[in-house]
Structures are given as C-alpha cells and as structure tokens.
C-alpha cells in the first residue's frame, strides 16, 4: 500500500535490508529475490527530450552536451519557453498607417521569438534578435574562459607527454643494448619521430612548443575595487539574479538580469535496471520516448502478494487488538500463503543453496567475485524490530489466481471462519490479533513485523528446475500510535 502524499503504511523488506513500499520494489525472477532501487544496477538506456519527446542517440547527446537543440527553458523561472511568431514590418516603410498595415505588407515576414508564459520573460528582453525560423538557429554562446582552459589543457597534456617520454627514456637507458644497427637513426631521432607519426601522437616538437609558448597566469597588484554604485545607488532587486538563476547556467552565472539567456533544455534518460547478482534486466523501457511501457518489467507488485491494512483497533501497551488485513495475489497462479514471525524465516544462505543444478553453481562461481564484493560490503540485515507482535495463526491460506474477469463478480464467497473475514477472487481479508509490548511508551509509533511465506510459481522456462518455490517476504505494518 503506497500513497503519494500519505506515509507508507505497509513496507516490505528488500533482500538488501532496505525497507520500502511495494511500489518501489522489484522482483528478480532469476534469483527469486526482492530487489530495490538501492541494490540494483541502473543504466542509462536512451536520451530524449521531455518537452518535444524527441529521441536523441547517445553520441549526439554527448556532442550537444545533453541539451535539446529545439527546446528552451526560461532562465528566469525555468518554465519551458514557447516560440511566438510575429509579423516583422519591412523597415523601408516607417510611416505606414497603423490600421491597415497588415493588408498592405504582403511581404511581411514571420519572425519568431521565445517567450515564457509563466513569468512573461521574452528573448527580446535581453536583446536577442528574432529568428526567421521557428526552431533552432538561436545564437550559441561560448564560455569566455574556454580558450584559456584549452591552453591550460594543451600545456598539461604536453607536460604529461613529456614526463611519459622521460620515463620511457630512463627505462630504455637502463636496459639499453648498444647494438650495431640502431646507433645512427636513434641519435637523429628519426625512428622515434616515425613511430610517433604512425601512432598518431603529436611530435615531440609540438609538445615542446606547447610548453615553451605557454604563459602562466600573472598576478596583479591592483584588485578591482567595489564600484561606487554600491555606496550611492539604490538597490534594484529586479535587476539582480538569484542563486538558482545563476547556477542554471554554470558557464556564465550571470549576475544581472540583462544577461540571462535561454537555457537549452536538459535531456532526460530512460533507465534500464539490472540485478546485481545475476545480471538480468529487471526493467527495460521501450525505446520510444512517448511510450510509458516496458519491454521487461519485473516489479514486486506483480509477483509478491500485496498486503493492505483494512483497519485496526488502537494499540494499548500490554493489550491485544484486532487487525484486519487484505491479501492480494497478483500472479496468474494459485498461491499458498502462511503467516510467520520474522525470526522464523530460514537463513538466506540456505535458501540460496536450494537450486543445486550444475549450471547454476557454475554460473554462481563465475559471478562469485563480483557478487560478493557488493553484497559483503553493502548488504544489511533488515531492521524489523517492532513494538507490536502479530499473533500468527498456524494455517495455510490459499489465494486464488488473479482473474481479470472475476473483477465483475460481486458476491464474495462466504467460506469465512474466525481468521478469514471474506474472500473475493484473488483477494482475502484476514482478522488477526496484534499484541502490543508491555513496556511500550504511550505515544510512540506502533509497528508490527510480519513475514509471508508464499508458494511462487516461476514462469521462466527452465527445464530441470522446480517450478514452485517457497519464498518469504517480510513486511512492516504501521499501526498508528500506541495510545495511553
């Protein structure tokens, strides 16, 4: 159960020890483990512009610095800018009558400018000339420091090159065999130059010149004094940019509003997610930016029984209260569910050993090094210490498979007993008892931990492996506050 604005009342423990609502969990069908955004590997899949929904190949995105070429953001309020069209008046007719000028100017040209519908900023405010084409063609600015940075780069690269060369020379000197053939050419450096030429490296002369021609920064004694305006003039806040406005353009960081320029819109990425343990994809989005569907979508929501809280009695220290839960089976197969205490779950290691086929173990040993590196450093034990304890009945409940047609059946089947409240297609309502600890302080958050043991049918075609697995999901229930 997860809400946008309310706290998450039911949270599941991920295999990495994080506790999250079911909507932000994944389920790896190959490891049969719950995974979350923390313990999986994210990858950039494709770049697209969120405004024009245009796909951009990653090489092009890199060249364009991850910016869309046709969409712009307002530099003042960061809303998307819209392109407005106007009819430009031909310049040679300044004394046209205002009323019927449109009729007379047949050759009136359409000109475009950018405007923000939110804060009314326009590209005309800062003196950017109108463009004759609707998209693109806006003047590009270069970083004023770019040339200096490039000089510095060349200089340092040359130095690094030279250092490498010196190191090589030193090593060569150590093991130099003064043979009879190499003397002349080596001395003139011809072979060296040839080798460089073939390898496409800059010749040593150019590195020398890069070093020789470089001028280091000169310090100057006079510092730019604070201008008199600060003492004498009144401050006009409308003329000075705020910090977010400055940082939106890290290259320029304009301090005055008149230097704000449209910001090319930053691209977004579609991500695919991969299980760290088995390297299988957990989600893979469709390539088309307009589509919100996935090619692969292994969400826990589709594989793990979902628990919702229907209602509960207020918790009191040392007392037992009733708790009504709803279980849903999201899979297409019938599911047996048992309720356990979290500490009754067999250790993870034992469960991992379960599939003992040869390929599996081989695969595992290949991946071993990598897996362990992450898991041994990061994996934690989920913190499921709770103030309250759900009294778990020793029954096995059967949840029917999900059947979309059954949604239209109204009547709940009445095989209710003292645990099952009602049953309806793949849903089941339970009446449970929660025991609150004696020494729990009034006013503290009431939490209860519960483990679901469920039979899961793996639909991944694997010939000689058991199709049915017994899996566990530990969850935390938020049951309000302990009353006094």
């Amino acid at each position: 159960m997860a809400y946008l604005t309310q706290p998450d009342y039911v949270k599941y423990a991920c295999s990495c020890g994080q506790i999250k609502p079911i909507t932000s969990l994944y389920f790896c069908r190959h490891c049969l483990q719950i995974r979350c955004g923390f313990c999986i590997c994210h990858e950039v899949d494709s770049h697209y512009c969120a405004n024009c929904l245009e796909n951009m190949p990653s090489s092009e995105a890199r060249l364009k610095k991850n910016r869309c070429s046709s969409c712009f953001d307002c530099p003042s309020c960061f809303h998307t800018l819209s392109t407005r069209a106007t009819l430009a008046q031909p310049r040679q007719t300044p004394e046209q009558g205002s009323g019927d000028s449109k009729v007379e100017n047949k050759q009136a040209k359409k000109m475009y400018y950018l405007s923000c519908f939110n804060c009314r900023w326009t590209s005309r405010d800062v003196g950017i000339p109108d463009q004759p084409v609707a998209s693109g063609g806006w003047p590009e600015r270069v970083n004023p420091n770019a040339t200096r940075i490039n000089q510095l780069l060349d200089y340092y690269k040359a130095i690094a090159q030279q250092e490498k060369q010196e190191k090589l020379d030193r090593e060569r000197k150590k093991f130099a065999i003064r043979g009879k053939y190499i003397t002349l050419t080596d001395k003139t450096g011809l072979t060296g130059a040839m080798a460089r030429n073939i390898a496409g490296l800059p010749s040593s002369e150019s590195t020398m010149s890069a070093i020789a021609n470089f001028v280091p920064s000169e310090a100057s004694a006079d510092v730019e004094e604070l201008s008199e305006d600060f003492y004498t003039k009144e401050l006009n806040l409308n003329q000075i940019t705020s910090m977010p406005q400055r940082l939106a353009a890290p290259e320029w960081q304009p301090s005055s509003v008149s230097r704000l320029y449209p910001i090319a819109k930053l691209l977004s990425v579609k991500r695919s997610q991969r299980c760290r343990a088995c390297d299988h994809n957990l989600t893979k989005p469709e390539y088309n930016p307009g589509s919100i569907k996935f090619k692969i979508e292994l969400l826990a929501f589709y594989h793990v029984p979902e628990v919702k809280i229907i209602s509960y009695e207020p918790m009191k220290p040392g007392c037992t209260s009733a708790l009504l839960l709803k279980l849903t089976n999201p899979t297409g197969h019938e599911m047996q569910v048992r309720l356990l205490q979290p500490e009754e779950v067999p250790d993870t290691e034992d469960r991992l050993e379960e599939p003992k086929s040869l390929e599996k173990s081989l695969e595992k040993s290949l991946n071993l090094e990598k897996d362990n590196l992450w898991y041994e450093t990061v994996q934690r034990k989920a913190d499921v210490t709770a103030t309250c304890r759900v009294v778990t009945p020793d029954v096995t409940l059967t949840l029917a498979q999900r059947d979309d047609a059954a949604e239209y059946d109204d009547d709940a089947t009445h095989d209710a007993n003292d645990i099952i409240l009602w049953r309806k297609s793949n849903k089941l309502a339970l009446r449970l008892q929660v025991r609150c600890g004696e020494e729990v302080e009034a006013g503290s958050a009431a939490e209860a931990a519960l483990t679901l043991q469920y039979r899961y049918r793996n639909t991944v075609p694997a010939p000689h492996e058991p199709r049915d697995h017994t899996l566990h999901a530990t969850l935390m229930l938020q049951l309000g506050h302990v009353s006094g």
Binding site: H42, L152, Y155, K157, I159, A160, V223, F230, R271
Partner: protein, 390 residues
Amino acid sequence: MALYEGIALIQEKQAVVLDLGTDYTKFGFTGEAAPRCIVRSEFWCQAERRYKRLYDYRTPQELYDNLVHMLHLLYFRHVLVNPKERRVVVVESLLTPTLFRETLAKVLFIHYEVSGALWVDSGRASALTLAAPVVLVVSIGARDAEVTAVVHGCPVLRALQSQPLGARAVNAELARLLDEDNGRELHLSDDVLDDIKVRACFVPGREAALRWAERGVPADVRETRRGADVLVSRRARALAAEPLFARDHDLASLPDIVLQCIMQCPIDARRSLAGSVLVTGGGAALPGLRARLAQELRHLADQPPYKERLRELEFKFHSAPAHENSVAWVGGALCGAACAGGGAGAGAGAGAGGEGRGVSRETYARTRRLRDWACLLHNTPPSHPHWDMQ
C-alpha cells in the same frame, strides 16, 4: 574532427569530475571549462519525505546511503551517463574526514563500479587553473575558509590554515543584523538568507567599514524584500561579511590566517606566495571581498605580530579562468584530462605533483585503502617496515 573525437571516446570514456561541497555540488566532465551542473548538495529522501542534506549523517551507513542517493541524482538527472566503467576525479579538501573519503570510495568503486578514481585536493586543483609555480589559495567555502600554500605543485601541509569563516558565518551575521533591523526574531531559512546575501550584500572597503563601525551606517536607505516581508537595511547589506575580518586575540580572522599561512611557510617561498594570491570558493563571490581582503592584508602586514617576520611583502592577486565557485572543479577537470592518456596512475606534470593518486578498481578491491596525507603509513617510503606490518 568529430570523427576523431568519437574514436577517442570509444577508447576511453570521458571521466567525470565530482566536487561535493558542503552547500553546492559541482559535477561535470574532464577537459571542459565549466561543470555541467552546480546543484545544492541535497536530495529528496523518500523514506523521510523531505530534502536531506548530503552532510546530514550520524552513522557511516547513513552517509553511505546519502552518497548513493546524491550520486544517483547527479549521474542520472544531471549528467546522464552510466557510472559503470567510467573514471572519476574527486576534488576534495585536504581536511576531509577519513570516514567521508573512505565511504565515498566505497560508494564509487563498489556501488557504482567506476573503473578508477583520482583524488585531487582542492588547493592544488585551484592552483592548476593558474599554472603558476607558487600560489597561495584562499578558499572561502560554505563552512570553512581554508588557506593552502601550493609551492611547485606541493601543498605546504604545515602551514595549512582553516577557520569557520565561510558563507555560514556571513549568513549568521546577516540573520542577526536582520533581526535587529526588524526588531523581532525572524528565523529566516537558509535559502532566504542566501538569497538576500547573494542579491543585496556587499563588502565595503576598509575605510568605509571602519567609518561605519564607528558612526553607524547611513541607514536612511531601506530596501524591502518582497515575499519574506523582511526589511533589509543598508547596514545589514554592508556589514554582513564583517565577521570574516573581525580580529580578536586569537588572530583568527581571514587576513590573519592568510598571513599566518605565509609566516609558516619556508622563508624563501614567502615573498612569492604573497605575490600570487588566489581567492576562490563560493563565499569569495561577494562583491568587494577580494578588494577588502587586499586592503586588510596590506594593512595587517605592517602590524606587530607580522611586522617583524614578514617584511616588504607585496600582495598580488590572480584571477582564475573560472567562476569563484567552480575554480577547484576546473582544476580537477584539467588534472583528469591531463592524466587521461597515462591511465589512472599517471601524474599530470609539475602542477599535479610527481606521483599520481589514482586508484583503479582492481587496486581498490585488493586493498581497501586510500592514500592519505594524515596517515603515517602513506608518509613512509615503500621500503619502510611499516608496510610489512599491514
């Protein structure tokens, strides 16, 4: 040209440069003139449903989580590249806590599986942007002001100075002045204070500051700030940065620590250090701060504690080819680009120091250890018996 670039990029992915500041994080690619993004060092924490600051941690585990979330935001929202198999240049202060460095290394190598990382200290990185042999880097960050003397690519650790005279000190003073102006406790949030500071505050020259301290600021001009309903007087605007220059018996003001740093440096480097000062850091972007610092330095150098030991210093100032808040980042970007050809371990010439500090993923997997100047082990030669005891 584009084709060649493509080939080069296939061979080795362009490394990223990471500067995790207290308030703002700078992130971008090596070899570029400015970071791709400068964002607040905070992220949306889903579990707590609030923005959480990166440096807001109590346990190592919490720090690990913070770093994972922050880097996820940077990689997938702002820079849009795969962190996997890509090198990282980390720009950090020399005084970064060991826990933070080690945790960051863990996150980078194990969680994001970067292929290598290079640690560059901010002092040296800032000096790299100038390519001058001797630089005195005065870096005014969010929390601390640090003064590092970089002599021929080597920071003089003995003379390293740090005082809590960063943007926070200015903010605190501004809040106090605003409370006085408005006659009530305002409890302004940090971003409102930041906004007022950025848009309204300035640092007056030395004479003006002295005059105003004596006779009060001509407070007839009053500006209001819409939105927060706060009166901002000229007094608040002008005097907010005064704590940086306020001297007491500890001699811990900004000009004092600069002079102390020079004083603790080798005697033959002092003159050239004074002649090559670089003021960086986001806090240094306040209008008039550099001029005021220059005036204060020239004034103080003639005063008793320094007069005997520092003679005839001539203070000269550099201007870096980048905005104040990203100077160290640009240095890191230069260093990363220069090292790119020679693998993670190669040094970047005189400016970047003789030996590289890069760590590759394999090296890290073998020994989970970062070089650190504060660690005795890393200050001993490789043949020293210390290494055997490891």
